[in-house]
């Protein structure tokens, strides 16, 4: 599934990166402790988190993630939006909480990395 298809199917709101949603997502990663994300996420993963500060963009860039989905209705900080636009990192928002969103994505065939 591509991020575009995911956004469509799960009713996610796209905040940045509309033009970068066509790549196939390689898997899912959920977590808010940045060191864990850096250690365990894989290239092309979609990252579910509640962290809204600009560091998440740096992490997503570093790990070449497909994009970030903020769960539980969170919105990115203005600075985070700016950075995401600069680095072309897709930022999406879901009102679902992480457990349910991960669960539903998993059922659609997007597995975890390990």
């Amino acid at each position: 599934m591509t991020l575009a298809e995911i956004a469509n199917e799960f009713g996610l709101r796209i905040r940045t990166g509309e033009d970068r949603l066509r790549e196939e997502v390689t898997g899912g990663y959920a977590g808010d402790l940045l060191s864990d994300v850096i250690a365990h996420s894989r290239k092309g993963n979609v990252w579910l988190t509640i962290q809204t500060h600009p560091n998440i963009v740096a992490v997503a860039s570093m790990k070449e993630l497909a994009g970030i989905i903020l769960t539980g209705g969170r919105e990115p900080d203005p600075e985070t939006l700016r950075k995401a636009e600069e680095e072309s990192i897709p930022l999406l928002v879901s009102s679902l909480f992480a457990f349910e969103l991960a669960g539903r994505l998993y059922q659609r065939g997007i597995s975890g990395t390990g």
Partner: protein, 159 residues
């Protein structure tokens, strides 16, 4: 205030050490226990515990030290948290959900989501937050017992 103090049934003060992450939540656990033993309704206990936990975490994460006082009166519960530290430069900004001044270390321990103050406001009936830059922060919140089951037994103060 004298009238209210006469009606105060219970009062206890806890010390909070800044940077004492390991014990974060220990005081709110004790507060929860006190309220549970006093027979307050579940929702009152839950709301007070959540607000107390957030306040306790703020002192630990951002201040040098502080004190948390719990007051139980016939019509309300009140918690006062006083801390010494850098204080808050913009209270309105601090109240915004998701806004956080947490450093990386604080974040890696599982804190600093920036939800604390808004979580306190959400769970309490009245909240007052004041701060003096370079000195510290003063937080008070009240949870009303009006309409709740008010058969509160007498508690011994202190200890």
């Amino acid at each position: 205030m004298a009238q209210a103090e006469e009606n105060m049934r219970f009062h206890e003060i806890f010390h909070i050490e800044g940077g004492d992450f390991t014990n974060a939540g220990a005081i709110s656990s004790r507060v929860k226990k006190i309220l549970k033993e006093a027979g307050f309704p579940g929702q009152i206990i839950l709301r007070t515990s959540i607000a107390t936990f957030e306040a306790e975490m703020n002192v630990i994460c951002y201040a040098n030290q502080g004190s948390l006082s719990l007051f139980i009166a016939p019509n309300f519960l009140k918690v006062v948290v006083e801390d010494e530290g850098t204080g808050i430069s913009d209270v309105n900004l601090a109240m915004k959900e998701g806004y956080s001044t947490a450093d990386d270390r604080v974040r890696e321990l599982g804190f600093g989501a920036g939800m604390g103050l808004s979580n306190i406001r959400r769970n309490t009936d009245e909240m007052v937050l004041t701060s003096r830059l370079g000195r510290g922060t003063h937080l008070e919140f009240v949870i009303s017992l009006e309409g709740a089951d008010r058969s509160v037994p007498l508690l011994s103060s202190g200890g």
